[in-house]
């Protein structure tokens, strides 16, 4: 009897894992393939000329991949062990940019997805809710005025993002918030912080700083290396892990505030905590890549259209789709114009804007989830 019971329970458990659908697995695999292919294209071209084959050989060079010292040097900034010039070019100059793309893509997508659930607003994203411009302002101020604090960039970006999001939320709050009020408040706070950003340019000492700052405001992966990976990887992993584990909380939040409360959720607290995670995720990306527009808004939409609205699926989908799209967009940014590199934010804006318009036209209603 006991045996029969446990067998039955197992069957039920298996059934409960059914949120992992074939579509989701396929979607994630496809995303991974796209990420790898785009990454390989990225490392194959550059100023230092080598053939595609040489570059790929360098990528899959077992002497580097299985060299503990090399990884220690990449991740902790210790001295690099000896390796061939090809390996140095690929592993030290070109690949880290791909990794930064992966990290920023995943964090921005996850951040947007969380914000959309917390505010129950399809239009929510770190960009629209002011987090991007707040964090952007904080980072810019650090670069231009307080350059001594540069090692704490993610922390500073998080503080700026939190401040801006807090402002947006308190402006929009009137015994509750509505999607439209949140977006309007976001527009206002965005404008204020963007003005502040532009004002900061007048305090820049030389043209070099201004150029960095501009690349930074548009969102760029140019010149990112292992140092950026080192800055971003830990907070990114923490934020993504919490986001994945908190997917069920987001699902319950999506049932509406009243229902969530009836079910025993301390709605304000959960909302606040998960917003914090989303701000952290967005700030990580902003600290290393700047403000990549439209990304956090559009990627969750693409994933939702493919795998459905269940946040357990949506989060996993975002973690895979974000990197794929970011690395691909960065390939376009770096290689499409021949000699000149564009900031990746220009590419995402150019593609993301029209795509979002298309979504708006296609869907009957937009706004409340």
């Amino acid at each position: 009897m006991a045996g029969a019971e446990s067998v039955g329970a197992n069957a039920v458990t298996e059934q409960r894992d059914s949120w992992i659908t074939g579509t989701l697995v396929l979607f994630c695999l496809m995303s991974m393939v796209v990420t790898v292919v785009a990454g390989l294209i990225q490392v194959s071209f550059g100023e230092y000329s080598m053939t595609v084959l040489e570059a790929w050989k360098a990528v899959f060079n077992p002497a580097v991949i299985f060299d503990l010292n090399a990884w220690v040097s990449f991740l902790f900034g210790t001295e690099r062990p000896d390796m061939s010039t090809n390996s140095i070019v690929v592993w030290n100059l070109r690949l880290p940019r791909v990794f930064v793309g992966i990290i920023t893509g995943a964090t921005l997508a996850v951040s947007g997805a969380i914000f959309q659930a917390v505010t129950r607003n399809e239009l929510a994203s770190p960009f629209i809710l002011g987090v991007s411009s707040g964090a952007g302002f904080a980072v810019l101020a650090t670069l231009v005025v307080f350059s001594g604090f540069a090692p704490f960039l993610p922390l500073i970006a998080t503080l700026g993002g939190t401040l801006a999001f807090g402002l947006v939320y308190s402006i929009a709050w009137k015994g509750g918030t509505s999607p439209v009020r949140l977006v309007l408040a976001g527009v206002i706070v965005n404008m204020v912080f963007q003005s502040l950003q532009q004002g900061l340019f007048f305090f820049a000492d030389d043209l070099g700083v201004v150029q960095t700052a501009i690349a930074w405001i548009t969102g760029s992966l140019t010149g990112t290396g292992w140092e950026e990976v080192r800055i971003a990887i830990l907070p990114a992993i923490i934020a993504i892990a919490i986001a994945l584990a908190g997917a069920r909380q987001l699902n319950v939040l999506m049932l509406g505030e009243n229902t969530a409360r009836s079910l025993g959720m301390r709605v304000e607290r959960v909302r606040f905590f998960l917003s914090g995670v989303a701000i952290l995720a967005a700030s990580v990306a902003i600290a290393v890549a700047g403000v990549v527009s439209f990304f956090g808004l559009v990627v969750p939409h693409i994933v939702r259209n493919t795998v459905g609205g269940d946040y357990r699926r949506l989060m996993v989908g975002c973690v895979f789709a974000g990197p794929a799209l970011m690395v691909t967009a960065d390939v376009g940014a770096r290689l499409a114009m021949g000699g000149t590199q564009m900031p990746v934010g220009v590419v995402t804006g150019l593609i993301g804007g029209p795509y979002f318009l298309y979504l708006m036209r296609k869907q009957q209603s937009m706004g409340e989830l």
Binding site: W19, V252, L255, T259, S262, G264
Partner: protein, 285 residues
Amino acid sequence: MARTQRNTDRERTQITDDNGIAIESALVGDGLELSYPSSDGTVVECTRLDIPEEAVTALVGPNGSGKSTLLKALSNHLKPDTGTVRIHGEDLDSFSQKELARELGVLSQENDSLGSISVEDLVYHGRYPHRGFFDGADEADHRAVERAIELAGIDEIRDTELGQLSGGQKQLAWIAMVLAQDTDVLLLDEPTTFLDVHHQFRVLETIRQLNEEKGVTVAVILHDIAQAARFADYLVAMHDGKLYDWGPPEEVVTEQLLADVFAIEATVEYEPELQVLPKRALPDR
């Protein structure tokens, strides 16, 4: 039972049933004054409200009489300006949000509809108060969900997405979610409004079955006085934010009540069973 220590020194008139046996109350509202932060003035005033244990109590009254407000206070969704609400003799404030959700199930009137969630997933959300922040579902959860789905009779639509269901099926799915919460007390805000007659009965029969088989205490707001009179063990009639009368339907439902509270002229038949036959609306007073 853990909850044996009751307030014995509390002065109250004991409610008794036909045989004079005292009836315990699962939920008691004491000296309640309720208002909303956005509007001034007290919306509901109620010196004493009892929801008798293991019985079905229907709250009736016209629109704006304060039924929903009262239910919000009973479920801790609205903090009373004065007074307390006790469940099984203990103050609602002494519970954490999750503890309360294990004692008291609530279904609000409007449930923002999510299109893309399957019925089964929705019912699993009812297990929320029984699970930790990061916990998966365990065997007790599976059993409770199966039971809830069976009770609500929605097995054949369990994999269907909510957006594809009719209003009545949706309501049954939401009710199954509250049932999965596995509480001793259930508060339902107008679960039958906007449903066709078939689904109205499905919902009411589910509630009745739950009450009879599991001894669950139910407080339910019903729009239709005739339906409430036939269905409930006790009626609470609200009028202008005050408690007009309460007790068994045979005692509460009179032509006077229908005139005073609902502003309709109606005949009430007591034999062979209680029946309300509305005739016409009375002119505004």
